[in-house]
Amino acid sequence: MSATHRRIALGAALAAFALLAPVLAPNDYVVGVLARICLYATLALGLNVVVGFAGLLDIGYVAFFGIGSYLYAFLASPQFDIHLPFLLALPLVVLGTALFGIAIGAPTLRLGGDYLAIVTLGFGEITYLLLLNLDRPVNITNGPSGIIGIDPPALLGYTLGSNIHYYYLFLLVLVLTLIASNRLRHSRVGWAWQAIREDELAARTMGINTTVAKLQAFAIGASFAGFAGALLASWQRSVFPENFLFTESINVLAMVIIGGMGSLAGVVLGAAVIVALPEIFRDLADYRMLVFGLMLMLLMIFRPQGILVPRAAPRPTPNSPTATEKSA
């Protein structure tokens, strides 16, 4: 079988598996886990645009996830008594989150990659604190109690009910996101991102407006997260600040890195691994973050290109402690 045939066969097998999964699953809980994998894969693909494509280390990404979730909650729950239909609320949420992405990115993206990491971390924290504390003096987020009673999605008059419905919805969204990611990567801005990721200075001298490109990456990443956030809110029918802690940002980052930054299939695999593993290793929950930390370190040293995709090996460098560094 030639390589292309093998790829098609593999793809077909995966597609079949994905479509039949809920039927093959032993119980509803497992279907829920599968739905969760699809949802988080979508989220991770968003971060993949920022980190994997453009090389911008955002470690407060969960902020956008949270903003998206809460925005949806504002638009479709008893909190403000607004009950927009799902298909109307979604674009608003995506737009709103993207605007946040631009607002956060605009002042900070022109700084070096290291600063960006810290600042995004800061924003992640601030977002969490705001979600937690904005129930006084005006009750916006309802504080630690979160917002509950969110409307379920209603598509074409059909209200979603069981996990199986959600699974197929999330799967559809995931596929669309994969297609969008792929198109992005091969678009003009996608090439710009790759150039920036490799060597920003060189990219600039080639005439690429790096600030705009980076902002685009940020905004698009944010909108993916906003989308995923809306989905989460409508699925869980509730949102709490606790859903959006710093550790979640690291989880999503790990998903992107395990799979190999930039590789789409890798990101999905990463999401599957990170979501499913705690389920399998229930007892070792305490050790999860420990292992993550270790894994991040080891991956960077031994296999920076990720587990799945064997990229071109990193260039051998001059033997001196003075290897020239490129900007991030």
Binding site: G122, M297, M300, P314, T324
Partner: protein, 310 residues
């Protein structure tokens, strides 16, 4: 409110001095490697825990025959050694393979994030998730206060300020007056040329980590003594604040780190006095964002390798 202002200022200085100590670690590493050692906060935490352990042991063994005046130096020494060595190990095993490769800057950054998470959880798993308590009272009774120019200050706070200032001054002398310090500055400015002068760059970087991490460990002891409660998570917020201080003063700039630390301590102290204490940690973030937006090079200007700058 204004009545307690002088005291708050003094406390702000003490807090600031501690931030300065931790900030020095960040700034020194950034100066030579252009990387943010995310795990630096955890080195601070480890210093606090080692100090706690030694103090607890000393108390249990009735100070082991030691004169009380030696306790603090011993705590500092142990904590600084532990943090310093761990910092060196981190550089050697987690960072060096990456920055030698000269690949994107993302690698060392991610590794540092990983190291931070790993250390934090390692501490949690080995020491328990509950906080530990420093029996500071046995060493520095709360009642022990000193009158300085009309203000009543706790002796502990004075000691904190003195120790921190002393350490910072020591570092300053080392960097400005000694050969090693000159090597560090040379490596920070232009690594290639430093190598051509015959400097063993790898060793200088290693020593930079040693010193910077040791200072962070010392800060851990001081913070432990003052706040008496330590937990595995303390490095997180302290680290971020110290990083803010470093950026405020100008990242890579040693005097900047000290100045930034003091300023941030005072600002935070004042903010907490006059504003809502719940948003205490937010103060540092706000300062950080303001600095990055309006004066990214910091108050005293950046001090990063010219040869490697974009």
């Amino acid at each position: 409110m204004l009545g307690i202002l002088p005291q708050q200022l003094v406390f702000g200085l003490a807090l600031g001095a501690v931030y300065g100590l931790i900030a020095l670690g960040y700034t020194m590493v950034y100066g030579v490697l252009l990387m943010i050692n995310f795990a630096h906060g955890e080195l601070f935490t480890i210093g606090a825990y080692v100090g706690w352990g030694v103090l607890a042991w000393l108390i249990n063994t009735q100070l082991g025959g030691l004169h009380p005046a030696w306790v603090l130096p011993l705590l500092l020494l142990m904590a600084m050694s532990a943090s310093g060595l761990l910092g060196m190990a981190l550089e050697r095993f987690a960072y060096r393979p990456l920055y030698l490769r000269g690949a994107t800057r993302l690698g060392p950054l991610i590794s540092a994030v990983g190291a931070s998470i790993f250390l934090q959880n390692a501490i949690m798993l080995t020491q328990g998730a509950r906080m530990k308590v420093y029996m500071t009272n046995l060493l520095f009774p709360r009642s022990w206060t000193v009158q300085v120019g009309g203000v009543r200050i706790s002796a502990l706070v004075l000691v904190m300020i003195s120790v921190a200032m002393l350490l910072m001054w020591g570092l300053h002398l080392l960097v400005q007056r000694t050969t090693l310090g000159r090597c560090m500055r040379a490596v920070a400015e232009d690594r290639e040329v430093a190598a051509v002068m015959g400097v063993n760059v790898r060793r200088v970087i290693s020593l930079t980590f040693l010193l910077g991490s040791a200072l962070g460990g010392a800060a851990g002891v001081l913070v432990g003594l003052y706040y008496t409660q330590i937990d595995f998570f303390m490095g997180y917020s302290a680290g971020l604040k110290a990083f803010t201080a470093a950026v405020l003063g100008g990242i890579g700039n040693i005097r900047g780190a000290m100045l930034g630390g003091l300023l941030l301590g005072v600002i935070e102290s004042l903010a907490v006095t006059f504003l809502n204490p719940a948003y205490r940690d937010v103060v540092a973030f706000v300062v950080l964002i303001l600095v990055l937006v309006f004066r990214p090079t910091g108050l005293l200007g950046e001090s990063v390798p010219h040869a490697n700058k974009v």
